[in-house]
Symmetry: C2
Subunit: 335 residues, 2 copies
């Protein structure tokens, strides 16, 4: 048993022609019950599995999807992926993932890899500074593509979050509790997402007549958030509340506070963003702008499916709102 079973070997085993086996396997054409039976037996005996690469060459059908994102390890992304994969799997699609690490050149190579390997659709979180080259490549191959979180080009569908609206709500929530020195914590470069979120924060600070905005950068991740919060507290001890760029940074900020003997929600208030699974479980549980990453992933996948179904429809824009979810890390400022 060394050679892989093909239509040919099954046909020989069953004593019929190759097209006949093909038709039996797909349930098309006119086949007598007796022949069908014989072919099925032969296929089972040889463990025949059709080769979808060969099939898709001829038929043009592609049932593999690529997903380029920027940080596997981030739970927000993991949950988005899980939602998207669930939906696509049900429709008979196979999803493969590549980590672009927010590097435009790396992303370009990854997209090329997906095209090379015949993916019939792409989901993609475009890195900051993506060259038009990348979009041209996708367009030249006519690959159904949905940009996620950051719009890449108006040629593609886009699924994202109403960022400014969310940070506006977060900032207002803190102000209503009585906070006046509110900082923005997290993110590094001026990515599309961060820009919008800071915009919401800034404009609300100004509108409410609160002090000058204070933006403190931090890479994504629990440890990084912890370290950034430590340096922020050191540099600006008067800050009593922070709006965070993401839950991981927020959880890190809480760790920093607790290490310094302070209690999140009492001494300093913290608002996260995303509502990853761990947010509700943390001690204290994290107040956050919830977007339900799993649902977002399913939305993303369904937009892609629609695009595949109708490649000529005009590019769509889908934005979902985040909802303020008050838990334990926000409260009135200490006297």
């Amino acid at each position: 048993m060394k050679t892989k079973p093909t239509l040919g070997t099954v046909a020989k085993e069953a004593g019929v022609s190759i097209p006949t086996v093909s038709q039996v396997m797909r349930g098309t054409g006119r086949i007598s019950d007796e022949t069908r039976e014989r072919v099925m037996r032969a296929a089972k005996k040889l463990h025949y599995v059709p080769d979808s690469r060969a099939a898709s060459m001829r038929s043009g059908e592609r049932r593999e999807i690529g997903f380029v994102l920027n940080n596997f390890a981030n739970p927000f992304n993991a949950e988005v992926v899980s939602g998207a994969v669930d939906l696509l799997e049900n429709e008979g699609y196979l999803v493969s993932l590549l980590d672009g690490r927010d590097d435009p050149e790396r992303q370009f190579r990854h997209i090329e890899v997906f095209i090379r390997h015949g993916r019939g659709g792409l989901m993609w979180v475009p890195a900051f500074g993506t060259p038009p080259e990348t979009s041209d490549l996708l367009a030249a191959h006519g690959i159904p593509t949905v940009a996620f979180l950051r719009p890449a080009s108006n040629r593609f569908d886009y699924v994202g979050i109403r960022n400014a609206e969310a940070t506006t709500e977060a900032t207002r929530h803190l102000a209503e509790l009585g906070h006046t020195r509110i900082a923005y914590l997290g993110g590094t470069d001026m990515s599309f997402v961060r820009e919008r979120r800071i915009e919401g924060y800034r404009s609300t600070m100004a509108q409410l007549g609160l002090g000058p905005p204070l933006v403190w950068p931090s890479p994504d991740g629990r440890r990084e958030g912890m370290e950034a919060m430590q340096s922020l507290c050191h540099a600006h001890p008067d800050v009593t509340a922070v709006v965070c760029n993401g839950d991981m940074v927020a959880l890190g900020a809480c760790i920093a506070l607790m290490k310094a003997g302070q209690t999140p929600g009492r001494d300093v208030s913290v608002v996260g963003f995303d509502d990853i699974d761990d947010a509700a479980l943390a001690i204290p549980p994290l107040t956050t702008m919830a977007v339900c990453p799993k649902r977002l992933g399913m939305k993303l996948a369904s937009v892609l499916l629609e695009r595949i179904r109708d490649p000529n429809a005009p590019a769509s824009i889908t934005e979902v709102s985040a909802t303020l979810t008050v838990r334990g890390t926000t409260g009135a400022p200490a006297r």
Copy 2:
């Protein structure tokens, strides 16, 4: 620009034959500098990307790998994947993931999907109760396969952890601190991994003359671990230390303790397993049996690469040790 560029369209653009373009793209054969130049220009202009499906049909080369695991969301798995993907990416392979959810039937379908889509190698965490059918299928297609964590069949390579050795060390550590009522927390069905870990725990308890072993099941995950720990504490308030089946359960157990006003490492000691990134960051930081998931993933990938290189070598067994990493969640029992 609607039709996807192929060797044919590039050949026409450059005014040469199809095989010539193919040779230029792959850098084989004898091609004059002038022709090469012309072909390259045409390829760039048309955004040509070779179709690896067509190529692999003819050449037999497969550079796609499948990975069937059982829980995307678990950070341990995420880190293993990240290690494996890093290594395979460098060798020019593309990895796709499917979540088998520990269901043998689902796994069988996933493996079939991977075969159908022409994967040239497979990494696989076999579900408990995998039927011989699954191995037969893989064998019939001659697909290089490495079983991860649980050996599926002696036909395949296996990469795993010395589980019994690790829980022996964990239990001994707790006993040396003075604990006598030590429970085992986590896992549900009697999977290969859990069986071995419990075996190490049981035998050490017996060897040290400690009370009857107490095994308390829990699904994987922070929340589940928390709930299981709560019920364990309720049913057996005399337990002063727990050996956990994984870090997520251990972190959940710590949350349960803190919610009950107790301090992990003072009132009750907790030992995790895996050493995921969050373990060191938790408050208090988690004592755990460290296996470095990223390195493990790379090991897994390298075994697969060797298997692909030499399909006829005898099946190998690779086991790595976990090392006790003492942090903040273990200490002498309270008076």
